[in-house]
């Protein structure tokens, strides 16, 4: 089975969020970048488990400049066989999807896996857009994924229920919590990653359909109103009369 995993290069979950150039760009100064957690813990690890059980290959693809290579090497250290970097700064979700689809078209991937969203732009756009551009079915928010007899079976946590869906390969799947356990790369993986193939391909022509023109930070929160523990019941009263939420 040939699996393609979409890997996004994002600021660490604990990174300070600040903007520069009159609040028009993210201030990446001094920020540690990581593999998007949904792409890593769920999509990539499940892809590796499927490959280990059934054979095949796991390729990752990232759209970004040379600065994304340490993140890509991390994905290789976790166990991907090879990686592709589309050499361009991503313009928007649609542009990323166009680049991924342009590479994946005609490569015969059975399965394209993505995280359910990235933790920077949070758009949940790229997976379904890749599916649309490749004219493939798309299963979103999969919390479990199995493949047997040319067919994928997934469980989705939707509207509080668990929905079990089925679809013939090839298809695109977005992965959510429950899919797999996090894997920490070991020294052998890290050494091996250095020599694994990382192919750099040029971007295809594509224009931004959307632009984030201005960023804002939320207004600072007012100080917490503390209620003494002995009078805890008063909280319910305040929520009813003051906050008016119950």
């Amino acid at each position: 089975m040939k699996i393609l995993v979409l890997i996004s290069h994002v600021p660490d979950t604990t990174a300070r969020i600040a903007f520069t150039n009159d609040n028009t760009a993210y201030d990446a100064n001094g920020v540690q970048f990581i593999v998007n957690p949904y792409d890593e813990w769920y999509a990539l690890v499940r892809a590796l488990e499927l490959k280990e059980a059934q054979g095949g290959s796991v390729t990752t693809i990232t759209v970004g400049g040379a600065a994304t290579e340490p993140t890509i090497r991390k994905a290789l250290a976790i166990g991907a066989d090879d990686a592709v970097r589309v050499d361009a700064e991503p313009k928007d979700g649609h542009d990323v999807a166009v680049q991924v689809a342009a590479y994946a078209k005609d490569k015969g991937f059975d399965l394209v896996l993505a995280g359910k969203e990235t933790i920077d732009h949070n758009g949940s756009q790229v997976g379904p857009m890749v599916a649309e551009l490749l004219e493939l079915p798309f299963i979103s928010l999969a919390a479990k994924l199995d493949v047997a007899g040319g067919k994928a079976t997934a469980e989705r946590d939707v509207r509080g229920d668990v929905e079990v869906v089925e679809c013939a390969l090839p298809l695109v799947v977005s992965c959510a919590k429950g899919m797999a356990e996090q894997r920490i790369p070991n020294m052998r993986g890290i050494m091996a990653a250095r020599t694994k193939p990382l192919q750099v391909v040029p971007a295809v022509a594509s224009e931004a359909l959307s632009t984030s023109v201005k960023f804002e930070l939320p207004p600072p929160k007012q100080a917490v109103k503390l209620i003494p523990a002995e009078e805890a019941g008063k909280l319910i009263e305040l929520l009813h009369t003051e906050a008016k939420v119950i």
Binding site: T14, D92, P128, I139, S210, E216, K221, L226, L239
Partner: protein
């Protein structure tokens, strides 16, 4: 030219998120001086659809929600027929998959998870960096797609007198099919809950969740938990809220025995009111809270349950 709203109208009653998209669509249509067409699917009775605030309803009776490729073909087809300038979906489990597909199909710019209507410059706000910041987005294309984050705008339900027509176009056969749906049981589904009672390691063990559940029951709330709690299997993983779990934005979020790590806050910082109960006065969660109680959960919870019971009796 018109505004298209794609919404799920199935179920016992039309979901709040669907009504929100109709309100959003109506406001846009008024601003643009045009009409609103609702594109929907499934088995909702025609009289219910006609009463919704749309000028026209196109309903695809023979497609379900499992195959978003079919739904996207349907929505794109309706948009083309109506000469749509805007396509509005909910940023819910279905809309999140359909909106980007429609955008890619129509080569339209998309605002995913919008929280506002367009401002004077036509820019729309959305959350980024897991709610730690917001971005104003400009769409440059003639057709624009918006998926509206649930609980972002109040519903203004107007009585409609829409004409209802059945969709007869070709959307192909469903490639994704539902094999089984396992109902979660009696509780309120977490993503739709207006009130959420959530607990963490401070509860010391799964056997103590009775108190959390009892408070949730009295407040008509859903229950949630922190990541360590779901990782230790004290609670099912679909209850995990946070950066790598579910992001929720209820009207009220009550966190018990959760320290409030930045990853947890990323999943709940859209909540309108946050209450924190923790025995550690230094817990970072207090900085993000509106109300707080420094105290032992096992002493505080019974007091809250008692007060909630009293309030329910008075209401």
């Amino acid at each position: 030219m018109s505004v298209i709203v794609f919404a799920d109208t199935r179920g016992a009653k039309v979901a709040k998120s669907a009504l929100e998209t109709l309100t959003y669509g109506r406001k846009l249509a008024n601003k643009e001086g045009t009409t609103l067409t609702l594109a929907t699917f499934g088995d909702a009775p025609a009289d219910r659809l006609a009463a919704l605030d749309a000028n026209k309803v196109t309903v695809a009776r023979n497609i379900g929600d499992a195959d978003n490729q079919q739904l996207a073909r349907f929505v794109a087809d309706v948009a083309a027929k109506e000469g749509a300038k805007w396509v509005i979906c909910s940023h819910d489990d279905t809309g999140k998959a359909v909106a980007p597909r429609v955008a890619a199909r129509l080569k339209a710019g998309e605002v995913a998870g919008a929280t506002t209507l367009p401002n004077e410059q036509g820019h729309i706000k959305r959350n980024v960096f897991s709610g730690k910041a917001q971005a104003w987005v400009e769409l440059k294309t003639p057709v624009k797609v918006v998926s509206l984050l649930p609980n972002s705008i109040p519903v203004e339900a107007a009585q409609g007198t829409a004409t209802v027509e059945e969709f007869t176009g070709d959307t192909g056969t469903a490639k994704v099919t539902v094999k089984e749906v396992r109902k979660a049981g009696e509780g309120i589904p977490l993503p739709e809950a207006e009130i959420v009672v959530s607990a963490g390691r401070g509860m010391k063990g799964p056997e103590n969740w009775g108190l959390v559940e009892e408070l949730a029951k009295e407040l008509h709330a859903a229950t949630a938990c922190s990541r360590p709690v779901s990782d230790m299997d004290w609670r099912p993983h679909h209850e995990h809220v946070g950066q790598t779990g579910l992001a929720i934005r209820p009207n009220l979020y009550i966190a018990i025995g959760i320290s409030g790590a930045i990853q947890h806050l990323a999943g709940v910082n859209g909540s309108k009111v946050i209450c924190v109960i923790n025995n550690d006065p230094e817990a970072p969660f207090f900085k993000a809270a509106d109300y707080g109680i420094v105290g032992d959960a096992f002493q505080v919870l019974p007091k809250l349950i008692e007060a909630a019971k009293k309030l329910n009796a008075e209401k």
